[in-house]
Symmetry: C2
Subunit: 180 residues, 2 copies
DNA sequence: CTCCAATTATTAGTGCACTAACTATTAGCG
DNA sequence: CGCTAATAGTTAGTGCACTAATAATTGGAG
């Protein structure tokens, strides 16, 4: 309504709370995460825990460092979170064979089975948010652009390469990384 | 688990970490807030504290409830934050005249003076993020749409309206009687 | 006027996210 | 070999954000 021509926008307007992208961004993030809460409660997961599970459903024995890279968070953030996931019975934590420094974080059968319930989460959330798939994709692209803009820190490009895979059906030879 | 049917890409793809809007959103929010950090350190403010100051630069004596509504956060979140802003010398906290329940949060001269330095923050951040004004406005509009989606579709009590002024939409008088 | 309900802010407790400091293990070099 | 640097994870401490419980005040009903 009172939006003047772009050339006339003063510095004063830039300090209005309602003009702040950072404010809208943080509120949106909290709102969306909050919208997940009732859905994820059925899986006995918090939202950050859900993200960890997503990473493990893609690749099961992973190290703490590998997960923290994938989620763009510090290992110190992941560490207590994994402890709670272990307490919930979804993962196991044990020292990796051949490298006593690394920790092999692996899905339990219960954790792997949880994926079936999780399959409904994205659709449920899209419906709850009243967003179409293309809207989600547009917003996702916007966020990736923003992450790239802050490019001081590398945005997490889901480094599947160099991770440990539970491929071998018969042999325990998996994971060049984890087993040193 | 053997490899799933190659034709079924719909639901399985939705659980890929890199496809999650919620993930991109939280990473973007953390990245952008993180980008503010070195800039706000010069003002001796954290990002949430900066948002509180923005609200006070618009309207100076405000109650805790009024600020928490403006920032879409719980009073319990704002309370310790205000205590730290008081310790920094930017605000004062005293019981409001005529209503001993309410707290009158008011800028000190130092807090008011800080606005001059803050005037440079939005421009600095736009430059740091490498975003044009129109890109910022586009992203802001996207975020507002997302916020509206979360507060509209489902009974989400977090009413995050675009404008949080001293206009009581349906609520009690919001802090106008501070100096009663 | 007294008692009860609503309002307002704070505290306690959980969990997330970060930095810095620490332990333990491994690898590399002389 | 043994010392040193690098790697891997955890712990400590700060701060944010929420829910639930608490304390204090106010306003209204009986």
């Amino acid at each position: 309504m009172d939006a003047p021509a772009p050339a006339d926008i003063s510095q004063d307007d830039d300090l209005l709370l309602e003009h702040q992208l950072c404010f809208a961004l943080t509120v949106a993030a909290r709102s969306v995460v909050g919208a997940y809460k009732p859905v994820l409660e059925k899986l006995n997961l918090t939202h950050p825990q859900y993200l960890v599970m997503l990473s493990l459903w893609e690749t099961s024995p992973r190290t703490v460092r590998n997960i923290s890279d994938a989620l763009a968070q510090e290992p110190a953030t992941i560490s207590p979170l994994l402890r709670r996931l272990e307490a919930a019975g979804y993962i196991t934590r044990r020292r990796a064979d051949g490298n006593e420094r690394a920790l092999a974080v692996e899905l339990t059968p219960a954790g792997a089975a949880l994926r079936q319930q999780a399959l409904e989460v994205p659709g449920t959330m899209m419906e709850r948010l009243g967003l179409t798939r293309s809207q989600v994709m547009d917003l996702h692209a916007s966020m990736m652009g923003l992450i790239a803009a802050t490019s001081g820190g590398t945005p997490q490009p889901t480094e599947v390469a160099g991770t440990v895979r539970t491929e071998p059906p018969g042999r325990r030879d998996s994971g060049a990384r984890i087993e040193g």
